[in-house]
């Protein structure tokens, strides 16, 4: 994965390098053509002068040519075609081979043909070419450096709102019914993005709220017909004309209706917690008396399964709604009893910022965190609704506590931590 800016930079570099390269070639060719043209003109000029001199004066004056040019006369028997060529010749003053442009033509003087060769040093052209190469290279380097610097600056300065929005979205939690708000930005696109994100989170929060309210209302509405059903069943039980098999059937109906009623109540509570109806009325609670009271309430269940309980409790607790504290402690303890073994153990520790409930139990397959899922049950035979730990988890989430489930050998450990 590449950053957007790095991707743009990649194309920018490729494009500018190829443009610069093509430009440099074009420049090189045109400069060379211009120089060659100029040299040719000068050579032709010299040819005219040399021809005229040869025809009218016996000896050639030394200044006839431009500085640095050289003239050579060779007597030949036949003339050939005039010819313009480039040659590497030895330059005595510079002591090395250098490119020369030569014009070779033939002239007849007093019946004798001469081959005239005018050579012109091309040192100037070479220098110009070198300058072109150096300049182009410099421009390329400058361009690359400025692109990189611009990129760096852009990502720091111009893209900052984008990264801010991104991290806000990362931290976004629907369950908190949050709407993300952003300050105005200079960049129009980022303003648009922020607006869209804000609208989206607004709609999300509203939809979520609606859904939760619907669930809550539906659960409420179910309560009354359920109450009617249960009361009618109970009335029927008192009817002494019913046969035994009718009573048994009625009893099964009653059991199912009771279960439905408990399920509905648990769901209602869960929805209410998720709707944050318990955020008002939070206060510092002390888990210690709640635990002791709960253990007393459950003593016959504990005794029946012959579970031994060990506690190490300090009077402390988090800040939360006292009713939720009851539900939380209750669910943790009943979970520890329900999933315990016959003759098992429970070890409860309560200290500053931490409540841990350990119980012996059967090994669990899979991820312990899955046990927080709703309607998660080990067996379908169980009377359990499978909502206990989901409720505990939701309570902790809403109140900003942490609930973790670990398994160490035979011990199942549920830990609540808070600040």
């Amino acid at each position: 994965m590449m950053k957007l800016l790095a991707q743009i930079l990649r194309y920018q570099i490729i494009a500018s390098l190829s443009v610069l390269f093509l430009g440099a070639i074009l420049f090189f060719v045109s400069v060379r053509y211009l120089i060659d043209d100029e040299v040719n003109k000068e050579l032709i000029n010299s040819q005219v002068k040399v021809s005229w001199q040869l025809k009218h004066i016996d000896t050639l004056p030394v200044y006839i040519l431009q500085l640095g040019d050289s003239l050579q006369l060779d007597a030949v028997r036949f003339p050939a075609r005039t010819l313009l060529r480039e040659r590497l010749l030895y330059n005595q003053s510079e002591n090395k081979y250098q490119p020369y442009r030569q014009l070779v033509f033939y002239e007849r003087v007093e019946g004798q043909w001469y081959r005239v060769t005018i050579s012109k040093l091309l040192a100037q052209r070479q220098q110009l070419m070198d300058a072109v190469v150096v300049t182009v290279t410099f421009i390329v380097a400058l361009l690359l450096i400025s692109l990189l610097m611009l990129n760096n600056w852009l990502s720091k300065r111009v893209w900052r709102p984008f990264y801010k929005t991104l991290s806000a979205l990362d931290l976004y939690q629907l369950e908190r019914h949050e709407v993300l708000e952003f300050p105005d930005e200079e960049t129009e696109e980022f303003n648009q993005l922020n607006q869209s994100v804000m609208q989206l989170t607004k709609r999300l929060a509203a939809t979520y709220q609606n859904l939760k309210e619907f669930t809550e209302n539906a659960s409420h509405e179910i309560q009354t017909p359920l109450a009617v059903i249960l009361s009618k069943i109970e009335g029927l039980f008192q009817d002494e004309t019913l046969t035994e098999s009718q009573l048994v059937t009625l009893s099964e109906v009653s059991e199912a209706a009771n279960r439905l009623s408990r399920l509905n109540q648990a769901l209602l509570l869960l929805t209410k917690i998720e709707n944050r109806q318990f955020l008002a009325g939070t206060e510092p609670v002390n888990f210690l008396p709640i635990i002791n009271r709960k253990l007393r309430d459950l003593e016959d269940l504990i005794a029946q399964r012959q579970i031994s309980i060990k506690t190490e409790l300090e009077p402390t607790g988090p800040i939360m709604h006292p009713a939720l504290a009851e539900v939380l402690v209750n669910n943790l303890l009943t979970n520890a009893i329900r999933h315990n073994l016959q003759n098992g153990n429970i070890f409860i520790t309560l200290s500053d910022g931490k409540l841990a409930v350990r119980n012996t139990g059967n090994p669990v397959n899979g991820n312990p965190a899955q046990l927080f899922e709703r309607f998660r049950k080990e067996s379908t035979q169980s009377a359990s609704l499978g909502l206990g730990l989901a409720l505990a988890k939701t309570i902790c989430e809403v109140n900003g506590q942490m609930l973790t489930y670990e398994i160490e050998n035979d011990w199942h450990i549920l830990t609540v931590t808070w600040q």
């Binding site: 009354t224 009361s231 009335g235 008192q238 009573l247 209750n330 009377a383």
Partner: protein, 225 residues
């Protein structure tokens, strides 16, 4: 004993009325706030059952009105709202108890009897059933002047069964009465059986007849026949 039921759901009201009639209670019914206030102003009731979610007025207002005029009348709030605030508001206004819908009629019956007992005799009323005499104040159970030592759960069970004497009590209603929300902790109802068995044995050891009848597949019945 005279009861007033303020409840807008007719089907539920009928069930409750029928249940209390068998108990030889007079149970009048008001379907709305208006009628309820009217009845409260005319008659005297031992206990009023109020659904606080009435269509034409807040049931809590009825509680307030009742409390102002007849502070000695017992009040039990019944509501589909399990909301804590309502519960606290109701109890603060002086209601004696709070029951969430749906509930077992036997549970409501037990609570009504407890409220009336506390109200009428400042809680000093003894409960008698056959050879059993219970002093609720002292949590003392005697059979032919011999004390029967019961556990808390056994005591609760006995009170509950006597309050609903001669009626079939389902296992669920017993479980819910004894363990409340923890009732679903029990994967079967054998557990109730243990308590019933112990209670029966303790009572019979002191010379009480066997009042506790088990009704196959359904539950139990506490009766003299």
């Amino acid at each position: 004993m005279k009861l007033l039921l303020i409840e807008d759901e007719k089907a539920l009201a009928t069930s409750i009325q029928n249940y209390f009639q068998r108990e030889n209670f007079v149970c009048e019914w008001a379907a709305d706030y208006e009628t309820a206030i009217e009845k409260i102003n005319i008659y005297r009731y031992d206990c009023v059952l109020v659904d606080i979610m009435l269509p034409d007025g807040d049931g809590l207002n009825a509680v307030r009105e009742l409390k102002r005029k007849f502070p000695e009348t017992g009040i039990i709030i019944i509501s589909a709202k399990n909301s804590l605030d309502d519960r606290i508001a109701g109890l603060n206004l002086g209601s004696d108890d709070y029951l969430t819908k749906p509930f077992h009629l036997s549970e409501l019956n037990a609570r009504v009897q407890a409220v009336i007992r506390r109200r009428n005799f400042q809680g000093n009323q003894q409960i008698g059933f056959g050879k059993i005499i219970i002093d609720p104040q002292e949590h003392l159970v005697t059979v032919e002047n011999q004390e029967v030592i019961l556990t808390r759960k056994e005591y609760d069970l006995l009170i509950y069964m006597i309050a609903n004497k001669n009626r079939v009590l389902t296992k669920e209603s017993i479980a819910e009465h004894l363990w409340g929300d923890d009732a679903d902790l029990m994967d079967n109802f054998d557990f109730i059986y243990t308590h019933i068995k112990n209670l029966r044995k303790k009572l019979m050891d002191k010379g009480s007849p066997d009042y506790l009848k088990s009704i196959y597949g359904v539950g139990y019945k506490f009766s003299e026949q």
